[in-house]
């Protein structure tokens, strides 16, 4: 299926919850309202014409005015790919976890939490994965201040 068809199918099913789409770049994407992300992901995985059973990438990106979570999903059977984005305000971004849809989201979401500070509700084990558990701050944010010491050791 082409990107336009996928976008059309999503708009048909979810209507106004799909806020915006950009289909002419190298990586066509659609923006989904954060509250609906779990339903959209379930639909992507279970619908027969989509069958997106492979979550390729889940990235947290920090823009100046917002924080985004990017989901890149792929279908092994139909061989098509699509990208979803969720935009949230930079203070206290919260999103529902899609761990129940794709098992790999568990670790990807832990990393997004660790690096960008997005809290995923319903996650079974949301704690830092790459940095020590008592680290302060979210490194991949653009306004991250490098710490001068960690546990009384100068950095």
């Amino acid at each position: 299926m082409k990107a336009e068809e996928i976008a059309a199918l999503l708009s048909e099913k979810f209507g106004a919850k799909i806020l915006e789409s950009k289909l002419d770049g190298l990586n066509p994407w659609s923006v989904v309202e954060p509250a609906e992300i779990l339903a959209v992901c379930r639909f992507l995985r279970d619908d027969d014409s989509l069958l997106m059973d492979h979550l390729e990438c889940l990235a947290g990106v920090d823009y100046k005015d917002r924080v985004e979570v990017v989901y890149i999903v792929y279908s092994m059977k139909h061989r098509h790919r699509y990208t979803l984005k969720c935009r949230m305000p930079r203070e206290a971004p919260r999103l529902h976890s899609v761990e129940s849809v794709w098992g790999v989201a568990n670790w990807h979401e832990r990393e997004a939490f660790d690096m960008v500070g997005i809290v995923f509700e319903g996650h079974s084990d949301l704690r830092r994965i790459l940095l020590p558990d008592d680290w302060e701050g979210y490194p991949l944010r653009k306004d991250y201040k490098f710490p001068t010491s960690y546990r009384d050791m100068p950095v």
Partner: protein, 373 residues
Amino acid sequence: MQVEYSGDVMTLNMGPQHPSTHGVLRLELKTDGEVVAEAIPHIGYLHRCFEKHAENIEYPGVVPFTDRMDYCAAMNMELGYVLAVEKLMGIQVNNRVRCIRIIMAELNRIASHLIAAGTYGNDMGSFTPFLWCFRDRETILDIFEETCGARLLYNYNWIGGLMFDVQPGFEKKVIDFIDYFEPQVDNLNTLLSDNFIFIKRTANVGIMSPALALSYGVTGPNLRGSGVKFDVRKDEPYLGYEEIDFEVQVGLGEHGPVGSCWDRYMVRIREVKESCKIIRQAVAKMTPGDVQESIPKRIKPPAGEVYMRTECPRGELGYYIVSDGSLKPYRVKVKSPCFTVMSAFREISRGAMIADIIAILGSVDVVLGEIDR
């Protein structure tokens, strides 16, 4: 993911420093006698903030950093990044660059699989295949050293071309190596892969069903070991792979159920032979040319984003690059195949014995540099 523990559960730590775990990985084992109830991996000991570095360095300068993620297959890591940026900028490279890139990537795939096979035998107690594999790998590293001066971390694939052209006699050296090496794979099979004890230790252990593998985003030899025929080089060919004739090897479950440790290991050995085929075809396709002719004066991609996936020896490597039109990337996210396989480790190792944990860890062939970035 709660498991019922019976009676005395001892928490054993296979700590970050251990002769067997391939890198600094901490496995927290909750054992009930010899059986492991849970094996929880803890990562992050090798985190070197690649993604943050990439935001502060210009595009060409990020290439050496990509080497250091998966240091056993550095050519492939560079390749993914370089192809992503070229896709973003719309650069087309000439045939010579494409062929050399294919040869280097496949040689590095052979070297990486040799490390995987050798260290796997070493973990199982068979010390001789380790040395045989490394002996053969030395010839590959000599070829790399002659071309770009480095044995392990190359900085060779540049955006739009290559750092150096290959030395004269390169094609002959490569073909000589492939001619010498293909029979050695059969030797290795006789010694290790078809060894009765090795099969007993690995063929019924760490079964990963295709559904579990897909749900956990496992790709590469780990997915193919479970019987799913999926290879990025066939699915979405890049660099001219669509013109090259090779087969995608899958695990067939000859000894034990499909998706066992032995299947994953055997897929790697068979892939090595396929890589030899690919290299021969790439050498035959090589044409003279200038490898640096497509390198732009200033690497300043237009604003936009791209997701490029390539088949690195450990699976599907994905680079998600967001560009804001400046000289430095805005965001580089690396989807590393070992990261996804490690997330599935807890599921496939439930109920195994301690010795089996080693077998499973060796068969998924993780490199911590790639997981932690």
